[in-house]
């Protein structure tokens, strides 16, 4: 594994000996890594290497066969009841497809968690929700239903919903997939500004290289074959200095990985 030099800071998430998978179908084994407070942490890897599964283990949706995930010192794997509820309000999640509630307008979607967890008045909750929608550029669409807006807009609304309670940590599953480059770049700026100004920690699963270079403070790269982490650290440093050819190919958009994975022979391809 290649590791770039990093500064020391308080760990907000610690993943210890985590195994991801179920039964005999183990996707990732004995993962150990930590996310530092305030950083933008990106999880990378090819398709099917278990990035999304890892994320689902980290947010407590799946119970891992082995290991622990400490969020601000509390293990989400073993937590139950109020303790678990308290951990759950520390982070927000944006799912790959947005997962907005179809029967509610965008404003209601963002307001939902405020209604559930705070004692603010209706107007106050709406104002907070509007601020979140404004952050992702969807304020003019607050009264729209999720089915009335595009897929990219649904994702942005989902990010707004994830931020409703101003959590310490935001988990984003493929935030820029399905967004045009300009919107995607704007979203990156939003992430950076929130991260810098509010000190919110981001854990992002993405493959978008431009986005990674813009937002990522640190990355881990997962690998399907070794079922583990093959690189950890600053992506810009890893691109230049990693001794693992697979890591360098990923960062340099090498095509030969895709060819070997698909068992294609380069000579059969058109020139």
């Amino acid at each position: 594994m290649t590791t770039s030099p990093t500064a020391t800071a308080e760990n907000i998430i610690e993943v210890k000996d985590l195994t991801v998978g179920y039964g005999s179908n183990i996707v990732l084994q004995n993962l150990n890594f930590s996310v530092k407070r305030g950083e933008v942490f990106v999880i990378l890897g090819g398709s099917g290497c278990g990035k999304s599964s890892l994320l689902k283990n980290m947010i407590g949706l799946y119970d891992p066969p082995k290991g622990s995930v400490l969020i601000e010192g509390q293990d989400i794997v073993t937590a139950a009841g109020t303790e678990r509820q308290n951990i759950l309000t520390r982070f927000g999640v944006m799912y790959q497809q947005g997962a907005l509630f179809g029967s509610m307008s965008l404003l209601e979607n963002v307001r939902l968690f405020l209604e559930e967890y705070t004692q603010l008045s209706d107007d106050e909750m709406s104002l907070i929700a509007r601020c979140k929608l404004d952050l992702v550029g969807l304020l003019p669409f607050e009264a729209f239903m999720p089915s009335e807006i595009s897929g990219g807009m649904q994702k942005r609304a989902a990010i707004a919903r994830a931020m409703a309670l101003d959590p310490d940590i935001l988990f984003l599953d493929e935030p820029s997939a399905g967004l045009d480059p300009i919107t995607s770049a704007e979203l990156d700026q939003t992430i950076l500004s929130i991260s810098r100004n509010l000190g919110i920690t981001f854990v992002v699963v993405t493959h978008e290289l431009p986005s990674i270079y813009t937002i990522a403070d640190r990355i881990i790269m997962l690998d399907k074959n070794t079922k583990g982490i093959i690189a950890e650290g600053d992506p810009r440093w890893l691109r230049e200095h990693s001794d693992n050819p697979q890591v360098r190919r990923f960062f340099n958009r090498g095509a030969d990985i895709a060819l070997t994975e698909n068992n294609l022979h380069p000579e059969t391809l058109p020139a």
Binding site: G102, Q119, L120, S121, C131, L135, A143, L165
Partner: protein, 385 residues
């Protein structure tokens, strides 16, 4: 559920004439602001009301340890109210890192929509009635087209029977038919018992309990057997078809069929229609027999033996009665499968649309079933079938 929050926030409101100061202390987030926000805004509103002249509000943030998005929304709310009243607003000792967060909401007025900003059109009664009528006509048109499509696909199935998806047909028939046996038996049994008891109570007054068999068997074979089965099927299978095809529509699976050159009517609707056609009469016959059996059991309580009961049933029921009931069942089967599939294909987008389709499938099936039943009663009366 309010969350246990260890942080505290304080807001100290001081006003003197046209000048007011708000001193904020502590950690401001969505939890700590509950109550505090409303109270401060009320103080501000009261103060603004009592001063017509240009007011000056300054907020001192020197003691603020943390300000999240909710805290910023709170400050924006105060600023907006101040500016709306024509007053001035200053932030003192604002930590530089919060400045861009407050300034990113420009113009602030956008965050405070007026009531008419709802993009959904407001319509008056006449417009709504007109729209409703138009939609009804459109729906009728769609249904007619759908009937045509189904008829043509059945014709196609007769011409090319090998191309019909018989595996799907069997799966659907098992799910809609065999799996429905327990509930159909239960309902048919209870209907038989209830019907026998109810008619026996009336007929006993005339000493005519032996005629219960005639009454019950006629009503079950001609009416109740097919009707109850159809209602159960509408609730189970019509909703299931609508939900399944509806989810496929939402997931673009139906679009994938169309762009792949496969007619969704033949691929999805036809196997279900054929299964409905097969299953409804069989279930209906099954429920007739269970109902009669239940009635005969009930009549044992009135000292009418099985043999007497069955003799009476055989004398009353003619092939015509059974055929009439089964023909109706066949039509009900068509309606249930057809309406379920049609509503599924008409599904909009989103999870709520699938639920709506399932509901509409059941409601439309029931309405059509009752209408066809009424029509049949009239035809039977006129023709004796």
């Amino acid at each position: 559920m309010p969350i246990n929050n260890n942080h505290n926030a304080l807001a100290d409101w001081q006003s003197e004439g046209v000048r007011a100061t708000l001193k904020l202390t502590g950690h401001f987030n969505a939890h700590t602001l509950g109550g505090l926000w409303s109270k401060t805004r009320n103080d501000q509103t009261a103060w603004l009301k009592s001063n017509d002249a240009s007011t000056q509000l300054s907020i001192d943030l020197a003691q603020v340890s943390y300000l999240d998005g909710a805290g910023i929304a709170f400050i924006i709310d105060l600023k907006h109210a101040q500016e709306a009243a024509g007053g001035s607003f200053t932030l003192l000792n604002l930590d530089a890192r919060y400045e861009p967060l407050i300034n990113q909401y420009q113009p602030v007025n956008n965050l405070f929509p007026t009531d008419d900003s709802d993009h959904h059109d407001r319509t008056n009664l006449i417009e709504r009635v007109g729209k409703g009528m138009y939609e009804l006509a459109e729906d009728a048109k769609l249904q007619t087209v759908f009937v045509g499509q189904i008829a043509s696909s059945i014709g196609w199935a007769v011409r090319y029977p090998r191309q019909v998806r018989w595996n799907d047909f069997i799966n659907v028939a098992v799910e809609a038919g065999v799996a429905a046996l327990p509930i159909v038996s239960l309902v048919a049994f209870l209907i038989g018992v209830i019907l026998a008891f109810q008619s026996a109570i009336g007929l006993k007054q005339f000493g005519a309990e032996t005629f219960v068999a005639n009454l019950v068997s006629l009503s079950i074979f001609r009416e109740l057997g097919p009707l109850m089965t159809a209602i159960l099927l509408a609730g189970r299978s019509s909703a299931a078809f609508a939900a399944e095809i509806g989810t496929m529509t939402v997931n673009n699976e139906v679009d994938a069929l169309v762009t792949g050159g496969i007619d969704p009517i033949r691929f999805l609707v036809l196997p279900r229609m054929l299964a409905g056609l097969l299953v409804a009469p069989i279930l209906s016959l099954f429920s007739d027999l269970i109902g009669i059996f239940a009635a005969s059991l009930t009549m044992l309580a009135y000292q009418i033996p099985f043999v007497t009961f069955y003799e009476a049933v055989l004398k009353t029921i003619h092939v015509n009665d059974i055929m009439s009931g089964l023909t109706k069942s066949l039509l009900f089967g068509l309606i249930i499968a057809g309406v379920g599939c049609l509503r599924g294909m008409q599904t909009g987008t989103g999870a709520a649309a699938v639920g709506l389709s399932a509901t509409r499938a059941v409601v439309s099936s029931l309405i059509l079933i009752v209408m066809v039943d009424g029509l049949f009663a009239y035809i039977s009366y006129k023709t004796g079938f």
